[in-house]
Symmetry: D3
């Protein structure tokens, strides 16, 4: 997910525009128009840095100098300074909240993702930890990128980049296998086909019809284990990927990940992330700029 | 925060555009182009409905029929259906995730707000429960509206609608009282002036200089109590509003709210809300439309 | 109303895009592609400079050099040069009209505002001179900022930053006092409440119900005086702000301002401002750049 | 200047979005959500109606019913109702100011244009009355259309629809005749070429080089008369069009128009128009809708 | 590639806005404002219809009635009418060129795609005919959809929906196999990996490293045949997909398609399509509307 | 058609945004984040360079260095390098396709235009070669500019810059001459009036009514010759311009151009241009930057 700086800048500027309305009336009244300041952005609790690149792009596009002390994806201790900013004081103060809102959310997502990924790795498992499309509307790019920085898998980005046949689709389409065969025949060769199933039998049918990935939706760990066994017996293990989804959270992730599934996906990572506590303190600029 | 439907529609359509990319390739392959369906949106856990109006506007703008069974702000039990949708099946399936992402976030925010507001009311307190500007970038309108529906106070909407002098401003401006006086003299009569203070002494100075609202930032409940006492002695209680902010959460809100402050503000309501579990199930349309 | 440069740039570029269509066909045909020029922007009549900051941002964003000889808010004599521009000649010629249209309007607004403000100050009055929401659609930011630079008060910026209950609202809401009480109870603590009244009696009722500001709408000066007297007797003078609005212009502003009102507001400042006469003359660039 | 309704709607909605911010907090607090009203829009002073079509498009796009009692371009007496509106009361109140700002400006422009056009017609002259590019930034379409409705000529719309060589262009291009010849040879056959001149001699040169239109810029009426004579002698009258521009206003328009020029152009029509006084009064809706 | 109507409408309206500028001055002058017409859109040469859905959406969004006589993807003879339109005459005339430009391009792309697809099918081959990212900037959705309607494969839609490692990437990344392994390990499980190779040896290496698809870039048909043989010997045929690309056109497509490749891709389909000759004739509306 | 760089930048960035989706996942996975490269853009076949200015603006706006070896409008041999680019490798690879798509289309249009223009010039004819409004939706500016660079005439840019009365307009308007007279009287003096005719007789009527340009639509060369003769006899040759349009292509352009018409217009130039074959090769950056 590499975005040229100019494209990123536009997305970020829109965030600032939303917050600032017709202008920051407080700084206009209180802060002299040529005052310069230097500010530090500090993690108040430990976590994984995410949004550093976005912050630098936003700040520099506003004419500020910004120096990152950590890179995206690095782990930061409580009370460490992650970024120094210097330049026009009114601009720093006007962008403060937008900057922190983005950094806090992205770092929060990266942090929880990293915790779950580590849990899986520590259990010597190779299962991938993926997010879902349960992102905050408008923040798709940022939520998905934060997951990547935490070590997770972005899963599908849009409705246009993988064929994912869910229960609701089958309800409308009718027969599961016909639906898969039709997708396989008429869908682009460049896309994978994933199918959500409700039983081991359906999983085998989906694999037979040519699905690349099988999603066990809202299965108990036990049911996952049994279903994987059925797929194995049918000769599909290793040939299709298996994803467990629904009802998985940090607490029970190992119960699922240990059942030979290739992917576990968790909506909560991006749907209900706990924002990291990050703040910004400004000081009058000393002689030497950053 | 009344928005004419057409304005709201534009905001909502942008959310869908983000998710859909160049088009939903799954429904295009699997679901017949003239198939119609009827769907139910259901709360999987109890909570306060928020985003109903937005959902109806979004769905109707796409040519679907939508019927709300609850109004925004009403409390919903687990497993209750809150909305019925009927019409073009591809459209319903394409908008499903965007719809649920918005509803889940807004209802999650309204639910936690309501819980805190009730806690305060049950303690026979009149303290207002406010959110802050810690909203998800791009979702300001929706986050604030959900707070309103939960019974909370939106606080400032933008940087242009109240003069709020925080610590960082004072650092750059110099003297606290001069800053307030300057804001009072040069700022518009239509705006209130709020000042963040770090001590009771500063609170009195701010009140003397003409602040309309005093914010105790990151005070312990004890320090809040003492500071309110100092303000009372100085004759400012009832003349200025007092807000406690920083470090306040559902757990300790009463410790603050019970200290004669007019407002408690909590960043977590909009910064780290737990999305409500809501789902959508589609069925082939029967003869009678919604 | 401080806007970071990048945000301002976007607003300004849209103005240029409107005027330029698919491109300036005259300069493309007549002016050599590498020619550079230097231009002077000159006030043809005396007035208050406004739009200087916007001009510099616009010109620099187009790669031109621009040097302001006056600051926004300063008074300029007839025939004084306020700005020097140098760089690509085609660009200077293409932006000329957009630049002058903005400068002329903003300076025109600032000039008339200053005249009225001075009139009030010369009469030793402290009454604020405010504009209204009668701005040119799309130019809210620029019209309001010009008022500020002229020494006026911006009044409300949007429909979201003050609760202003006008006659039409009361017609729909029913009882005046109930409306105010409801606004006071349910509206955000961060907003002031202003109420438009048609009589002294209504003014008292509004004040009793908790209005922060009372607007006398379309009162004669005599009626203003009498009504202020009634408010004074009722003990509200100094406790609520009083605004006179409607039918006030440069000619009769003192008749209103002298009646102990805190604010006089005039629609004409931004609704029908006389644009200042400003021009731009270009010359071939000499050796030394600006 | 025919714009399909949908295109116009977009332009108009942006105006409303600017004014409304995050929503109308007053109507949301005061006006019941299902209340309906009926409103009348009334001219408080006589003038030419302009902006009726735009108003209807805006109002209907918001779901309101709107009935025009006058057509664009018709003359309206003081106190006549020009439009009736009915529907959702909150929506009517939220759009009121945007609607009136547009109507007042457009009708103001149409009114002053009509006055000048009538003056010329009453003097039995066929001279066209044109506006210039001195429009309010962002309002080009609306300002130009209002001129048309008043009976005026829109002149150039953008920098891309006529080749207009002004003094500043000649300064950069060098020789007047070479510039015209180059434009004639390389410019599109679909565009006219107009040349601003400072003397009768230059006018003859421009005509000889192939200009379609000659603009006398800032000439006194006397100088216009003499220059037209020179052009006549040189055999160009009736072959090129002649425009007088600069320093022309309602007061002196006949002095120019009577000098055999084809067009007089006036910046003031769109640069400093006096907005017409128009208001809107709402009432609770009676049984029968509009 | 299913897009809800509202999303499509926005894309289409932008096309009209580009063409119409400040408005259609011809229809405004010549066509009475309430005139209605009925028009027929006719293929002047045989071809595959594409853009019918888009046309209907565009026309209906402008308030016109439109009736399609063919469906997207159907083959149309010369001189057949494909669509009837009725309604406001000015609107029909203003949208005519935009409508035809879109229909002509899409139908031209669909027609050439269908010809090539048929050639392959007639030769009893199962090779897919795909387009590339060589689309007209801004028309990605429409160009890809036209390919689909012609029976072709859309290939990758964006840079975000398949990992496609081309020669230029390898130049920067270094080792081919390391690059693929890194993509396989760190890229999302939801994406396929395609690798462009310049030799049979590289193809085998790519397959060994885990590529899902191998692209033979600018190979002669002979070299394709030999390389497929090498892949077969190495046991990868049927396990990876093979795409031939570069230098393939309608003339030589069978020479490639007959070499056991799974996909042939042709840039020319969308890069240099011959627009189909389609016209629109209007008549005054008779009594009975469409 | 001179556009200031900043305006052009915005148009170009939108093209890149379309192609890149949520980001380039291939370069993100394969190319190190700080790698720099240098690339050459090369013509694979001879042609006229067009889009060089646009390319430089796009590349520089992304922070890349770009050096043009040819100017727009120059003729390039096969295998000549036209541009060198250096800088961030990920950015170069992400923009490659967008850049080439634009360059290939613009150069293709300029090349075919030049060929036709030369054919006419070599025949010692002064007839102008014009394009039409048959441009790719969204690419009007770029298509028209490429025609200009090839030596052609842009014709009308929008529906707002010339009054062009076509057959469909006459159908709705009624009488040809009345339509022209009405346009002449009520249309702006700044616009030319062109009329499409189907016979010599209609041409004379149009000229008599005051048309500036007569378009012979879909005439055979013989009919063009005869009609020009009729116009000549009627004394209009040299007084009105004559355009032949419809059914004209590179093959038969001289048959038309030799019939004393002033302009021949060809839809195919912009409607079905053959894109020029242009590629980009990257190498790791050596020590000395471009």
């Amino acid at each position: 997910m590499f975005l040229p700086r100019k494209i990123l800048e536009e997305k970020l500027r829109n965030m600032l525009t939303e917050d600032i309305g017709e202008g920051d009336i407080t700084t206009a009244l209180i802060v002299p128009s040529r005052a310069t300041g230097e500010a530090e952005v500090r993690f108040k609790e430990p976590g994984v840095a995410a949004g550093i690149e976005e912050s630098i792009v936003l700040l520099e596009s506003l004419g500020l100098k910004a120096q990152a002390l950590f890179r995206d994806g690095e782990e930061v201790e409580a009370n460490q300074v992650i970024m120094k900013i210097s330049g026009d004081a009114r601009t720093i103060l006007s962008v403060e909240r937008t900057l922190l809102n983005l950094l806090s959310r992205m770092s929060g997502i990266a942090t929880v993702t990293r915790q779950i990924v580590k849990k899986v790795l520590n259990a010597k498992l190779k299962t991938r930890v993926a997010c879902t499309r349960k992102t905050a509307p408008g923040l798709l790019y940022f939520d998905k990128k934060a997951v990547l920085l935490g070590g997770g898998d972005t899963h599908r980005l849009h409705l246009d980049d993988m064929i994912l046949i869910k229960g609701n689709h089958i309800t409308m389409a009718g027969n599961l296998q016909d639906a898969i065969r039709s997708a396989k025949e008429k869908g682009s060769f460049s896309k994978k086909i994933e199918v959500e199933v409700a039983s081991a039998a359906a999983a085998v049918k989906a694999a037979e019809a040519g699905a690349d990935i099988i999603m066990f939706d809202n299965f108990s760990p036990k049911k996952v284990e049994a279903s994987v066994g059925v797929l194995e017996k049918a000769g599909f293990l290793g040939k299709v990927l298996v994803e467990a989804s629904g009802g998985i959270a940090a607490e029970n992730v190992l119960a699922y990940a240990s059942k030979k599934v290739d992917i576990v996906s968790l909506g909560e990572i991006t749907e209900s992330p706990k924002a990291l506590d990050i703040n910004l303190k400004i000081a009058r600029q000393k002689s030497s700029p950053v």
